[in-house]
Symmetry: C2
Subunit: 358 residues, 2 copies
């Protein structure tokens, strides 16, 4: 494990995005979005994925100079064609359109086709906070999850993020995969050669499994709820809603046809739409009630929930967003820890473009 200052990783990542042809603005945006994951402690979605994005660009699946455009709109909605651009760039563009529409008619809702992985959903949802809006972001993703009663991988981990402003309290920021555990958590166990808890994955027959490598053996991640008795049909429904809002509504590729992140996996045959899909929403608080009233009540909500009696052995009740904010505060000062294998991988990526600095 090595510690890197944010600025060091920023410069390196920016240089790499510039090297594949991104404009200065786009490289800055992509870097900020990507590293927001490292800052918030969602290490699986941060700079560790940089080489993956570059391999997609090498494979011709990512367009570094996309012409992102609105292909259909109403006062409160839009569909955007990402032109196969980096999701890290397409998503903030689309979220801004949602925010602009909310300014005019109260809310804005944008579905996106022809995009790629967009980093952490939370970043995009949080763009609404400074505008006194509630922000939402979701995306479909490569199929790793079996629906309830099935052994076939049909859905991605399809995250949902919702960011809600408060007053004196920090904002409420939920950002979660619609699976029991995100794939990144499984990857951590693989590195440690540890078992997964039951309820995270199943084997190729649909039996409970604790093998952290089971996805490579035709196993699957499980929807939030784990099994039918514990509500996996609800997690399956949530993941499906994300898939439909992101991809069926926009004309992206959905379900098992969602394009894979690893560039070595061939694109699915007979894709029913273009690229990955996302869905964004922005709701102006004062389209419902005065923002000051709302924020005062959010402070009250947050304070009351923080004061809820803890269970035995638990320190305190957390508000969604608390852990990530604490990690961010610490990493901005202490630096961002990266595994040696990730550092090597980054150096290799840099060397493709003669970029040093790590």
């Amino acid at each position: 494990m090595q510690l890197f200052q944010y600025q060091v990783l920023y410069q390196f990542t920016y240089d790499v995005f510039k090297a594949i042809g991104c404009s200065e603005n786009d490289a800055a945006t992509a870097t900020e979005v990507l590293l927001s994951a490292d800052l918030r402690g969602i290490d699986s979605h941060g700079v560790a994925r940089l080489s993956g994005y570059i391999r997609l660009w090498q494979a011709g699946r990512i367009n570094a100079t996309p012409s992102i455009r609105i292909i259909h709109e109403t006062p409160s909605t839009a569909v955007i064609d990402g032109d196969a651009g980096l999701g890290l760039i397409v998503a903030p563009f689309a979220m801004q359109v949602a925010i602009d529409k909310a300014k005019k008619v109260g809310t804005g809702w944008v579905s996106v086709q022809n995009s790629n992985h967009f980093g952490i959903a939370g970043y995009h949802a949080m763009m609404a906070l400074n505008e006194d809006m509630i922000g939402m972001a979701m995306t479909n993703a490569s199929a790793l999850v079996a629906p309830t009663f099935s052994v076939e991988k049909m859905l991605g981990t399809n995250p949902i993020a919702v960011a809600i402003p408060a007053g004196n309290e920090p904002p409420f920021v939920a950002d979660f995969a619609t699976t029991t555990a995100a794939n990144g958590k499984l990857e951590i166990l693989q590195r440690k050669k540890a078992n997964a808890p039951t309820g995270w994955v199943q084997d190729q027959e649909g039996n409970a499994s604790t093998d952290a490598n089971i996805l490579k053996k035709n196993g699957a991640l499980l929807p939030l709820g784990s099994d039918r008795e514990h509500g996996s049909h609800k997690g399956y429904a949530l993941g499906s809603i994300v898939d439909i809002f992101s991809a069926v509504l926009s004309g992206a590729s959905y379900g098992p046809w969602a394009p894979p992140f690893p560039a070595y996996i061939p694109m699915p045959e007979n894709m029913p739409g273009k690229g990955l899909g996302h869905f964004f929403g922005a709701m102006r608080i004062d389209a419902f009630r005065p923002a000051t009233d709302f924020k005062q009540h959010m402070d009250n909500w947050i304070t009351r929930f923080r004061a809820a009696k803890p269970a035995e052995g638990c320190e305190k009740v957390l508000i969604p967003g608390d852990p990530e904010r604490e990690i961010q505060q610490s990493r901005m000062v202490e630096g961002i820890p990266l595994l040696t294998t990730i550092v090597e991988d980054l150096k290799n990526t840099g060397s493709l473009f003669d970029i040093k600095g790590l």
Copy 2:
């Protein structure tokens, strides 16, 4: 167990709502919404609750002749004051406002204060289907659920419903509590004197429990995910989002202050808002892409998911809404089964107003 034809229960329920002073239109709406739960097999939310609504009316907590009105609006949003009316009447009114706004600007979003329990969320979401819209409905509810790391009941079972039209296939209709198991499921086990599976409830110290009566002993329902290791923080976040959209956005009473459904429980002190809150959304499909295209792709989505390989011992993969639709088809023909205790309870309610017919 006794079987009743839908029309018989309809007439009885309609007469009771008329007897407390509802207009003919309102009585018809309330009856249709309430019985939609029985038809769809969600027995805990149907006619079995009629006496509960009447007790709330007797306690002066429900206004049978509400003046429901929009108190704030923008082109795509509204806040509605339900004037303490039956949620069964307030909710369809509010959903219609969302639909009307969607007709004009693409989407409509309505937050409701000063309401009461609204039956099943699915009914309201499904109102959008005939308009070629996606419908959403959620509500907060009396606190029965402990947040992750807590033993205090802070949230209701706060359901989310999303209804999405398809073409030749039946619509996708998800309608689920944001808990591992709905309270109704626990009540069924109580009647059977059976234990609950682990992961549904916890005791007053926050330990896992299988006691179906644990809520009466300071226990709590668990958020979807059951425990931290299985993602209960995600269920807690979902339930919180429902609470905030329904109640903080509208000015209703939120979290542990949500008004209780049983009329014998005193109203919480220092309520921060008015009554229960709901949240509704309607998105016109053709605000995103032509409805015929979308429906064709939804048919493809549904067909593909139905064809997903089943797990060993499982018959087939279901689409959200399948089980409820099958029950509805059967109950419209065979009748609706009611427990003898429920029938007695209904007869007692009828006798208050000299209404027979069961």
